[in-house]
């Protein structure tokens, strides 16, 4: 009976095992990368909104402080989406007849709220609290990016758990003074390593093992 396999088949067999492992690894890596990509996370994808509201115009050009509209960002879990009344505070006078604002005026007249599309959508199992971050020196732009450059809103980060943990493991990297909290062009100073530690002491930032406990965000 002739031999079915030559000696070279051994090499092929070994090689094929290696190739399969590599392919599996590649597949896994691709899957993970895909999962992190804006294709899945929707990062840097501007969302359509019912009203063409521009943060670039309001926060950038007009220089309105974040907290004028997002009033509860320092006190509660949610930053607070402005009520129609907040819009009308100015727009009953300014651009009072602009067709772009018809939806706002209609909401004001009819009492029906405006239905915005959520941009920063955390999984429901994560319980995020704005107030504790803002009070402890994590500024708006750290998570939301330079909002004053965004005509329509997009998220600049994946909002995935690994991204949260980057800071929860090393909060010193992003801490800033309270006066800079809403500053859009804040960049970590050269001595952030020093400064961050000092701020962490000042703010009584909890130890890393508390910040990285599951219970800090999940319940």
């Amino acid at each position: 009976m002739p031999q079915l396999f030559t000696r070279s088949t051994n090499t092929l067999a070994r090689l094929s095992i290696a190739v399969v492992i590599l392919l599996l690894g590649l597949g896994g890596w691709l899957f993970l990368e895909l999962n992190r990509s804006p294709f899945v996370t929707q990062a840097f994808v501007a969302r359509e909104q019912p009203v063409q509201f521009s943060h670039k115009h309001h926060a950038g050009d007009d220089g309105i402080d974040c907290r004028y509209c997002h009033t509860t960002v320092e006190t509660t879990a949610t930053a607070g989406m402005p009520a129609t009344k907040t819009c009308m505070n100015c727009h009953s006078q300014l651009f009072a007849n602009s067709p772009y604002l018809e939806i706002v005026r209609d909401s004001w007249r009819s009492g029906k709220p405006i239905k915005w599309t959520r941009v920063h959508d955390l999984p429901d199992f994560a319980y995020f609290n704005h107030s504790i971050h803002v009070n402890k020196g994590v500024g708006c732009s750290t998570c939301h990016g330079q909002v004053d450059h965004m005509p329509l809103m997009w998220n600049t980060s994946s909002l995935q758990m690994e991204w949260c943990l980057e800071c929860h493991r090393n909060p010193e990297k992003v801490l800033r003074e309270q006066k800079d909290i809403t500053s859009m062009d804040w960049r970590p100073p050269a001595d952030q390593a020093e400064k961050g530690k000092e701020l962490a002491r000042k703010y009584n930032i909890q130890p890393t093992r508390v910040l990285t406990s599951c219970s800090t965000c999940h319940r």
């Binding site: 879990a77 949610t78 319980y127 107030s131 002491r201 406990s213 599951c214």
Partner: protein, 1071 residues
């Protein structure tokens, strides 16, 4: 399930059961008769965390038609595709802000409003949590005298009633949807007449044909409106009826003082308490306050060695009896003779003496002696269902002991119309039968279901028969219930969280009932209905209540300011009724007619879960294990072993609740009723007790068809105690009762498993329950702690828990807490309020009777009930049991996916998103506190139920393990608030849901050490102080898991004179 049906086998076992010992002759504490008998079902539940249910026992509708092979095929296919679901984006979500944010509302921050819930007309003060305008959680109002922060199960569960999708949603005319306006037109026709329809108006007849039927009312506004209705219709009659009528107290006061009187007890001033069949700790007005006051006198914390003493004579095992230092089981109709014996022994005037024999005589003698020795420091309280004479005698005893003014005081009645309610509804039925009633208006009552059977015919007359004789019937109620279905008009009523009203508390203090939400449906409040009868059909309940109080002196002056203050406080100042003195009538003796007991008797009590049936459609309450029996979803017949034997029930079989025997209850002259039997240790002989509130036909999807309608065997002349013509007969068939008493057995300690202690090379008893008498405790306080075995720090391969702030980075002063809990078993009254509070706070699902039967109940917190002694009169101990948050948690080491983990502050966490449902953790938990979602138990679709959920807690789905988190959401909220202010969390700032609901402060949560307890300093927090008490012990400490929850032993204060007369010793005597 095998039954040992031979008499030879079973006889010795049954003999042991009577003595409260197992077949090995050992057993101090036991949980069920099955445990003593060591049945197969008990062993299954003991040894397996997830007991298998014999298919022959299961409800056939639950048997899966899909075979195992097919199931596996389907599962493998689903598994193969499961990974793909990760590759999707999250669905688009919207943010919908307000148009104009309401004043004071901060989105994301819950608000609390003060209000009150009336039950049986009597208010209990509440603070209700509201998220963006929807009430989600009930808390007690700490500044309300009836609550002091505590609540009952009814108040906790009432939030679910608000969102009940089966509630009546619109006015109905002959069962068809109609409108309020149309109803007003028709009402107007009947009040003012319509000659073209040949309807003579009631106004013209001065209301001679008008009858109004309500439940007990204490609302001053309602009273004011009713006076106006009476003025408009002078000949109209107002009848009052509800099943738990408290007639005995009302008529008893009439007998004793010649007028209706409200008694307010002050248990905080009493050293000796005698309960004459009164379940005052969990039932009736003021029970929450009474529990707190009573327990405060036996706390034994902070070095106190003082304790009050409670004697209970009772006709069924209640939680009050369970807390008794001496308990005497006695038939309800014998209590009167006992009361007279005590009365004559203490020298009370007006009660004819009685002769007792045996245990009762000795008991009465000792009690009387103890009462006399504590003149002015004692209370005698009679049970709600006891006849008027017992209440009258209790008044006489209290008078003789100098109690009025010292430990109790009298006021005018808090009810508006304090009538004998049974007489009142009898009167109504007579008028109906005589054809005198032309327009019957029923407000909030459901008499077609819950009225007793009246005289007439072979088997009595039902209320429905009589009611149909009124040509026009109107009912207002929360549900389209049995009465609504038989009235021409039904008007949907507002829930107390939807409409304005007011009500008095047990001491008369008035609370404004402030709604938290606009009516969900087209509902109206009773005030609006009465206004309609006064031709003010458009009046809103807010204006009616406010306009009434505008005229009252208590809020005069700056009315708007005072009104606001009253709403804020949840209480109108200076409205508690003043104390009054009433003289005992001299002819009391003549009016007391001794009871005439028969061979057997039936006692009717309101159900501890669904009350008189008004909470039938509340799944939290239906699934709430009733105190002592732990039965869910059903009512049943309490019977003693002796009486069960006498009527040949179950004579040769082991106790087995999976197949409860049936009994036929015959109350002569009424239709007999067949019901399942529950042999209750501690129940007196020759009497049975049944709960009201079951057997509903039109309660809703949850309540229909559960249990048996015991109103059908309730004779109007003997509504509470049917003695005399009563027969008990064995009936055919068996019935499945779903009791959680046999679930989650922690240990068979004393049966055959004891803990092996390597250091000692010995087996020790585990001492799950630790108790001592006050004398023993005083002699050797530390003995309790040393009863078990706590291994040393080094006997573990795990590093010890780091209590210090070692991780404080760079000298940062970061807070680090060590959360823990102390549970005082001496204070726990087993009232269940914590169980419902936990369910409400943590979005816990209910599972239904079949799943309960299989041991799959989802409660994170349960109250384990242990008995000690013979079955004739055992002692009872309550042990609230939830996740113990072990430092060396056994659940964590076995989880293959790291879903059970620890956090930095010592909490044992369950990460739902990691959990794959292996259930290893639950298998490895010695406390059996982990719960697995076998199915999607929660209702995720019904819109109104979504409103009831706590937005701060994840709603769990199928296939996930869950358990107590120590209310993690409250801990995080408290910590965030503190950290924002750069301070530590204050002691007491964070309260778990169970803690805040507890009427007696039995559960205390907090930081057990570290920052608040520097080395060498005494512990500062309340929980740390409790843990330093000598009574404190860790359960199953010998397992070395180092639980963060610990228990404080129960201490009893027995009277040396009654040594051996009851409790533990009585078993041997009767056995």
């Amino acid at each position: 399930m095998s039954h040992r049906d031979h008499h030879d086998d079973i006889a010795p076992i049954r003999e042991n059961i009577r003595k409260g010992i197992n077949k090995n002759g050992k057993k101090e504490f036991w949980r069920s008769l099955e445990e003593l008998a060591d049945t197969e079902r008990f062993r299954e539940f003991l040894h397996r965390e997830f007991p298998a249910v014999n298919p022959s026992e299961a409800d056939p509708s639950w048997l899966d038609p899909v075979g195992r092979r097919n199931f596996l095929k389907l599962m493998s296919a689903s598994l193969a595709f499961a990974g793909l679901t990760a590759c999707t984006n999250q669905p688009k979500e919207h943010i919908v802000p307000y148009v104009k944010t309401p004043d004071g509302l901060v989105p994301g921050k819950p608000q609390f409003y003060a209000t009150a819930m009336p039950l049986g007309g009597v208010a209990s003060g509440l603070l209700v949590e509201s998220h963006e305008g929807r009430p989600t959680k009930i808390e007690g109002n700490p500044s309300h005298p009836a609550s002091l922060g505590g609540t009952t199960v009814y108040e906790q569960a009432s939030i679910l009633n608000l969102y009940d999708p089966d509630r009546s949603q619109t006015p109905l005319k002959l069962g068809n949807p109609s409108t309020w306006g149309e109803f007003l037109n028709e009402l107007n026709t009947y009040l003012n007449g319509a000659p073209e329809k040949q309807i003579e108006g009631q106004r013209a007849k001065q209301g001679a044909g008008l009858r109004i039927l309500t439940e007990t009312i204490t609302s001053p506004t309602f009273a004011d409106q009713m006076n106006k209705v009476k003025a408009a219709f002078p000949q109209m009659k107002w009848h009052v009826y509800e099943p738990a009528s408290r007639d005995g107290a009302r008529v008893g006061a009439q007998m004793a003082f010649g007028q209706p009187v409200n008694t307010v007890y002050q248990f905080d001033k009493a050293d000796v308490v005698l309960s004459l069949d009164a379940d005052f700790l969990t039932n009736g007005p003021g029970s929450v306050r009474y529990s707190r006051d009573f327990i405060n006198r036996r706390r034994l914390t902070g070095g106190s060695n003082e304790m009050n003493r409670l004697y209970v004579v009772e006709s069924a095992m209640t939680t009050t009896g369970a807390k008794a230092d001496h308990r005497l089981p006695m038939r309800a109709s014998d209590v009167e003779a006992f009361a007279r014996a005590v009365a004559s022994a203490v020298g009370a005037s007006g009660a004819p003496p009685a002769s007792l024999s045996g245990d009762a005589a000795k008991f009465a003698e000792a009690v009387a002696k103890d009462l006399k020795a504590h003149n002015g420091k004692s209370i005698v309280i009679a049970g709600e269902h006891q006849p008027a004479s017992v209440h009258a005698i209790a008044h006489a005893i209290n008078a003789a002991l100098g109690a009025p003014g010292a430990t109790l005081y009298y006021t005018d009645p808090i009810e508006i119309n304090p009538v004998d309610q049974i007489a009142s509804i009898k009167d109504l039925v007579n008028d109906l039968n005589a054809g005198k009633v032309e327009l019957l208006v029923i407000i909030g009552a459901n008499p077609v279901y819950n009225a007793p059977v009246f005289e007439g015919g072979q088997t009595g007359q039902t209320f429905l028969d009589a009611m149909k004789k009124s040509p026009m019937r109107v009912q207002m109620g929360l549900f389209n219930d049995e009465t609504a279905a038989n009235c021409q008009w039904h008007v949907s009523e507002t829930h107390y969280l939807e409409g304005w009203s007011d009500a008095r508390a047990y001491d008369g203090a008035v609370s404004i009932i402030q709604p938290l939400i606009q009516p969900l449906y087209n509902s109206k409040s009773p005030h609006e209905l009465l206004a309609a009868m006064l031709d003010q059909g458009g009046a809103a309940s807010h204006d009616i209540v406010r306009d009434y109080w505008r005229t009252q002196p208590q809020l005069s002056g700056n009315f708007d300011q005072n009104w606001k203050q009253s709403l804020h406080d949840g209480l109108i100042a200076n409205t508690a009724l003043p104390s009054k003195t009433f003289g005992l009538k001299s002819d009391l003796n003549a009016s007391i007619k001794p009871a005439t007991p028969g061979k057997y008797e039936i006692v009717f009590r309101v159900d501890p879960s669904v009350h008189d049936g008004r909470f039938s459609n509340n799944s939290w309450l239906q699934e709430l294990p009733k105190p002592i029996t732990k039965i869910t979803w059903d009512n049943f017949v309490f019977i003693s072993q002796n009486t069960a034997d006498e009527i040949q029930l179950n004579p040769n079989a082991e106790p087995h609740k999976g197949a409860a025997k049936m009994i036929r209850l015959v109350n002569e002259g009424l239709h007999p009723l067949e019901m399942p039997v529950w042999v209750q240790p501690g129940h007196p002989d020759n009497t049975v007790t049944v709960y009201l509130g079951y057997g509903r036909e039109r309660a809703g999807n949850v309540g229909n068809g559960h249990g048996f309608n015991t109103y059908a065997i309730r004779n109007v002349n003997t509504p509470f105690i049917a003695a005399g013509n009563v027969r008990l007969e064995k009936a055919e068939g068996e019935y499945r009762l779903a009791s959680t008493q046999e679930h989650f057995n922690i240990d068979a300690s004393g049966i055959d498993v004891r803990a092996y202690i390597p250091e000692r090379d010995d087996l020790i008893d585990r001492h799950i329950i630790r108790t001592a008498t006050l004398e023993e405790y005083k002699k050797a306080p530390e003995a309790i702690k040393h009863r078990g075995h706590t291994p040393g720090e080094e006997t573990t391969i795990y590093p010890p828990w780091n209590y210090k702030d070692a991780e404080t980075v760079d000298g940062r002063d970061a807070p680090l807490y060590n959360w823990g809990m102390a549970i005082d078993m001496n204070a726990c009254t087993g009232c269940n309020a914590c169980v419902v509070a936990c369910q409400s706070e943590n979005n816990t699902a209910t599972v239904g009777k079949e799943m309960v039967f299989r041991g799959r109940v989802m409660h994170w917190l349960r109250i384990d009930t242990y008995f000690r002694g013979g079955t004739a009169n055992p002692q009872v101990f309550f042990q609230p049991m939830m996740c113990q948050h072990c430092e060396n948690a056994p659940c964590e080491t076995v989880c293959p996916v790291n879903a059970a983990v620890h956090d930095a502050e010592g909490l044992n966490l369950q990460v739902y998103n990691r959990c794959v449902g292996t259930r290893y953790c639950a298998n490895n938990c010695p406390w059996k506190v982990r719960r697995f979602n076998y199915l999607l138990y929660g209702d995720w679709d019904t819109p109104s139920l979504k409103l009831a959920r706590n937005p701060e807690v994840t709603v769990r789905s199928r296939g996930v393990m869950e358990k107590c988190t120590f209310c993690l959401q409250r801990i995080i909220a408290g910590k965030i608030e503190a950290e924002k202010q750069n301070r530590f969390v204050q002691d007491g700032e964070i309260q778990t849901a169970c803690q805040s609901a507890c009427p007696t402060e039995a559960i205390i949560f907090g930081d057990i050490g570290a920052k608040s307890n520097p080395v060498g300093q005494p512990p500062q927090t309340r929980v740390a102080k409790l843990k330093a008490e000598p009574r404190n012990y860790q359960m199953l400490a010998e397992l070395n898991t180092r639980p963060r929850a610990s228990y404080l032993a129960a201490i009893t204060n027995p009277n040396p004179e009654l040594e051996g007369a009851d409790h533990a010793k009585s078993g041997e005597k009767h056995g």
